[in-house]
Each structure stands twice: as C-alpha cells, then as structure tokens.
C-alpha cells in the first residue's frame, strides 16, 4: 500500500495553490486529466465523459466499474484515495435510466472525479460493491440500497440502514414512491403499533445474546425459525 498523503501541499509544493473558482461555465471547461488515462487503459469500458459546471463526469460500463475504481485508487498517477459519496439519481423522465454515482477525490493531486453507471429501469439493478477498496463505502452503499433498491454485489452486510429491516413500502427515493408513502396513514399506524421494539436485534446480535439464554421467548422463537429456514446448518443447542 502506498504511503498516506498527509498534505497535498507537501506533495507538489511547486503547484499553484488552489483558488475559489469563478465564472464556472455550464459546459466545457478544463477536463480532469484522469479521463485520458482512463480511456487509454480501459478503452471501451469508458462510455463517455463530459464536463459540467467544472466537474468531470465519466460514464463507465458496469462490468468494469470495480476494476476502474481499483485502478484509480492504486495507480500512482491517479491515487483517488478518498471516497466522497455513493448515491444514485432517478430522473423524472420514465425512460431515462437510473444513474449510480460515485464521487472520488485524489487528495494528493487535488482532483475530483464523478463516476456514473447507467442502469436501465427494468434491469436487475446490481452494481459491484467497492467496499474492499474503500471501507467508507459500507454505510453509503447500504443507504443507496435502502433508498433506491440498488444491490451492491459483494457487500457483506447489505441491509437497510435508515429504515427498519421489516419496512415493506419499498425504496423511498424512487420516483414511483409517493411522498407520503405507499400505505395509508391507518395502515402505517397499525404497522407501527404492531412493531415489537425488542425484536429490533439483527440475527448477528441474537447469536451473541443466545449464549446467555436470556432472550425473551418471542426472540428465541424468531431465532429458531431463522435457523430452520437456513437449513439448520449451525445445529441447535
């Protein structure tokens, strides 16, 4: 692993200090030099690139995404060591594909790059997880899954994060999700009252607690049912 960058100024002290950007054009403007290198290395996997409001967006092919991010992270000429954000955009136009967006920063080179993958709405909506490259992707990918239903292949613990596990109304940031929710107020209230607050332990946590036999009866039943569903490979007590 390459040494960490503790200060961008230390890396290239001769470069001019960055300044507040002014009069940034809507289109055009200086393109991020990483795009040329990406096209050279990955060829057809780079679908297109454009510059909007001074930020470079690169549309990449979903199959190559993991390799591209890995290369951007590792290559000494790129070193995108900082994952800013993972999110998605769905447009109001029903025919336009959903875009999954990764914002990357190279702290040493003071570069910012936006990667995008387009997912047609009727597709399975699976993209590779980059949690093995950036550990910070963990919650960001979980949130994206929670809000959009996009699955991150390779994420070890892909479950809802802001909403609760048993949330049934779908993925709220999808455009076909109404602002007030899918269910009626009465139904939402009914479900909320039916919630057992003690049942909010995940299966992971239930296995810890079971060592004490101190679980409430209903939780023990849940655990047994879950075990049975998994085929009982762990064996009962």
């Amino acid at each position: 692993m390459t040494a960490p960058i503790t200060s961008a100024t230390a890396l290239h002290a001769d470069a001019a200090l960055p300044a507040t950007e002014r009069n940034v054009p809507h289109h055009g403007g200086a393109i991020n030099p990483s795009v040329e290198a990406l096209k050279h290395t990955f060829g057809d996997a780079i679908v297109r690139a454009d510059v909007m409001w001074g930020e470079t967006t690169v549309f990449v092919h979903v199959d190559q995404l993991h390799a591209i991010v890995q290369w951007l992270h590792d290559d000494p000429s790129q070193r995108y060591d900082y994952l800013v954000d993972v999110t998605a955009v769905e447009y109001r136009d029903a025919l336009r594909p959903i875009e999954v967006v990764w914002h990357l920063r190279a702290l040493g080179y003071r570069r910012f790059l936006r990667l995008k993958v387009e997912l047609p709405k009727r597709s399975t909506m699976i993209v590779p997880s980059i949690i093995d490259i950036y550990s910070g992707a963990d919650w960001l990918e979980r949130e994206c899954y929670d809000m959009f239903g996009i699955k991150f292949d390779g994420h070890p613990d892909l479950r809802r994060i802001l909403l609760w596990d048993s949330y049934k109304e779908g993925h709220p940031l999808r455009k076909n999700f109404p602002l007030r929710g899918r269910f009626s107020r009465a139904e939402q209230l009914k479900q909320a009252l039916a919630q057992d607050p003690e049942a909010r332990y995940s299966m992971n946590e239930l296995t810890i607690a079971e060592a004490f036999n101190s679980l409430p009866e209903d939780m023990r039943r849940r655990l047994a049912a879950e075990r049975a569903a998994r085929g009982g490979e762990e064996g009962g007590e």
Binding site: T9, L107, I208
Partner: protein, 440 residues
C-alpha cells in the same frame, strides 16, 4: 458439604478486609470454619451459577441514552468489560429530507438545511446556497462572500463549543460546559440580531442573503471575538493538562492516516489522524484562500488529538473572523439578477411589473438550467457536500446531502473494538455526531 450440617462447626461467610484472589483470578470469598478460636478455610463451595467467564455479553446502549448524543443505538458484544464487537443502528430520526427536497423549490429547501446539522445551521445554509448558485451559474457579490464567511465561522465556533461542552460532560467535567454555553448564547444573540432566528437561521437565499447585517452588528461581533478567546483558553486550560481528561482520552479510538482516509473520515476526525485535508484549503470556496489561517493536524488520531484539533480550529476561526470584519466591503448583498432575487417590497406593492415579478418568483420559483453539481464545504463535522441535479424545472431532481457525521460514525466499530465499555462513550463523543444530519 456434610460437615456444615453437623452442629459443632459453624460456617461464617466473612468479607475479608484484604481480598485475595484465587487460582482462577476470582476474588476469594471462601467460607471459614471456626475451630477453637482459629479460622480454617473450607473447600470452595460449588455453585449452580454457570461459569460466565467464557461467555460474551450483549449490551444495548441507546437509542434513548444521553451519552449517545441523540438517538444513536449501539449494540455491543462484551468480553468482560472489553468491547469485542460494536453494531451501530441509526435511522430513528429519518424523515426523508432528500425526498421532500424533490418537491420543493430551491429557496424552500433552505429551511430544511437548518434542521439536518442543527448545530451548524448557518453553515448548511451557506453550503446549500453555494450549490444552488453553481447550478444557476451566478456569482455572488463581494459583500455577500465575506458575510457568508462570517456566518460559517460563527457556526463552526458554536458547533465546536457544543462539542467541547458536551464531551467534557460525558467524561466528567461539568464546568467548561457552562462557560462555553454562555459563549454559544452570545453567538445566538448575534445571529438573532442578524436574521431574527437563533437555531434555525435560514439566513441565505439563492444569490444572496436573507438580510444584510444591521447597523452596529459588527461591534457586537468584535466584542464577541474579544471575549470568546479568554473563555476558550480558560476552558482549555482546565482540560488540556488535566490528568483525568488525558487519562480518559489519550490513546483511545486511534485511527491511522491510511485507515482514516480509506474510511472516508473528514474534518477534525481526519486531521487528528495527521491528514491535512481541509476543503477550505484544498478546494476553496468563498475566497478562503485569501484568508490567513492554519489547518491544525494531529499525530496520534486519538480522542485527545481530536480535542486539540477542534480547539485549535476555534482559535483559527477567530483569526478568520477578525480578518473578515476588517475586509467587509460595502455594496449590495444580493446579486442583481431579477431571475433570482425578489424586487424590493415597496416596489412589489406599488408597481404592476414588480408585483407580477414577485408573484412569479414566489409561486413558480427560479429555474436553473439542466445540469448537476457537487459543492462541498468544510463544516465543523467535516466535508459537507450537496449534490444537486436539475432537469431544468424549478425543483431539483435530486438533492443529495453528503453528511460528514454519517461517514465518520460508520467507522465507530473500528474505533471502539478492543476498548473498554466506558471508553465507548468518550470515543462516540469524539466523533461529534449530530443525529439530525446522520438520519436526515
């Protein structure tokens, strides 16, 4: 066992003055047998209690626990008192800010930005306005730029002050909390004098500010700058070389520079680990490159370093405020762009054209060209970014908040595992979380 039943011998359980340890490391509480005046130890009683030393315990902290700074819930697996595993749960405050934003005009979103990181409302307002102005392609006036710097640095001070106060309460020092909250009150008085609101300021508009500062306001700010430094130094003096403070913070929750960058930490959390990444320096906005200030950097990345970094940031904020007060130019606060800025009230009530203009701006809202931008600022918690996508209508297609505390908090399992249960509180406090921003 049978000996005890026989009558001549009496079994007394005694609390030993100096408790010894037995071969298993358990405190010695063996029953003693009195025989002719001398005490003789009996064999240890066998009990039906299970041997729990090999078992792990499940501890649930929160969501309603004062030390979790909101509604964070941590499920901890403990081996004795040592944390083996930490599973955080969030989402108790989720109210769908990003979804609601898709149904609001840009200026109508600004009150929502107050309520995510509510200790940094002016900073969020400024960050969102900067994002919108990029999306609309407008340049703000010089006076507005400096006013926004003042707003952001005041917000940084109140946020760090709350952090220092509450963290010292978590660790057991109550006095700095009161001193610092008095200073926070002073900042809120200043904000109230500026925009009328204290906590939820909504002080920016796309293309300018809600209000210019009133006459004499700068005198109040100068008085605050003068008074705050002494309060800060007083509080810091109480903690910095305090044995209890150091004992409860040094070496806790340390993150190396590689780990911190890889985990996406930002703000004081990242800088305490030795990475000098500050959005104000590396990707400047609001002419921050023209201000003379330093970026403090820690070495160990532990709770103590985070404390030192935040304290030094407050001192640097004072420096920036001082420079901003000196350079504040005269001139208009809002851009001269009728697409964005409402006409003056007296015109809207007297001229037909202005009234129509006012009506259309309020009812339909300004429309940016189709496009997208990500604008990040250095909030007290770290890199706060707004990713705005527009399709040319008056409401954004997507308003994404990049919440710094959310990403910082996601590293908490790595930070607490291996530490004691009581240290979880100190480490959690050092992250400086605001659940409103994490759950949104």
């Amino acid at each position: 066992m049978t000996d005890r039943m026989t009558g001549e011998r009496r079994t007394i359980e005694m609390a030993l003055g100096t408790s010894g340890l037995d071969a298993q490391g358990q405190p010695l509480r063996a029953p003693l047998v009195v025989q002719g005046g001398s005490a003789v130890a009996l064999e240890t009683m066998s009990t039906d209690e299970p041997d729990m030393s090999a078992d792990h315990m499940l501890i649930n902290i929160g969501p309603q626990h004062p030390a979790t700074h909101g509604v964070l819930r941590l499920v901890l697996e403990l081996d004795g008192e040592t944390v083996v595993r930490c599973i955080p749960h969030i989402g108790y405050l989720h109210c769908g800010f990003e979804k609601i934003g898709e149904y609001r005009q840009y200026n109508q979103i600004i009150p929502w930005t107050d309520r995510e990181d509510y200790l940094n409302s002016p900073g969020n307002n400024v960050a969102f306005a900067l994002g919108c102005e990029r999306l609309f392609g407008v340049e703000i006036t010089p006076r507005c730029t400096v006013l926004r710097v003042i707003a952001m640095e005041l917000a940084r001070i109140i946020s760090h002050v709350v952090w220092l106060g509450t963290t010292s309460v978590d660790i057991g020092a109550f006095t700095p909390f009161l001193w610092l909250y008095q200073e926070r009150e002073n900042v809120y008085n200043l904000l109230e004098g500026w925009v009328g609101a204290r906590l939820t300021t909504s002080m920016t508009r796309v293309g300018g500010m809600a209000a210019d500062i009133p006459d004499g306001w700068l005198d109040g700010l100068r008085a605050f700058i003068k008074g705050f430094s002494s309060t800060l130094e007083e509080s810091v003096r109480m903690l910095e070389t305090n044995a209890i403070w150091a004992g409860r913070t040094v070496g806790l929750g340390a993150m190396s520079a590689e780990e911190a960058v890889n985990a996406g930490l930002s703000g004081p959390m990242l800088r305490a680990s030795g990475v000098a990444y500050d959005v104000r320096k590396d990707f400047p906005y609001l002419d921050y490159e023209t201000y003379d200030f330093d970026v403090p950097v820690g070495t160990a990345g532990d709770v103590y370093d985070r404390f030192l970094v935040r304290v030094e940031e407050m001192r640097q904020s004072i420096r920036i405020l001082d420079q901003a007060v000196r350079r504040l130019p005269d001139g208009p606060v809002n851009v001269d762009d009728p697409r964005l800025i409402l006409p003056p009230k007296h015109k809207a009530t007297s001229e037909m054209e202005s009234m129509i203009h006012h009506f259309k701006l309020v009812m339909e809202g300004p429309r940016p060209p189709a496009g997208e931008c990500y604008v990040a600022v250095e909030s007290p918690k770290g890199e706060k970014g707004y990713y705005l996508v527009s399709d040319g209508s008056a409401k954004p297609v997507r308003w994404r908040i990049r919440p710094p505390s959310f990403v910082n908090l996601s590293a908490i399992p790595k930070m607490v595992e291996g530490h004691l249960l009581s240290d979880v509180i100190a480490i959690n406090a050092s992250i400086d979380i605001v659940m409103g921003e994490i759950d949104r």
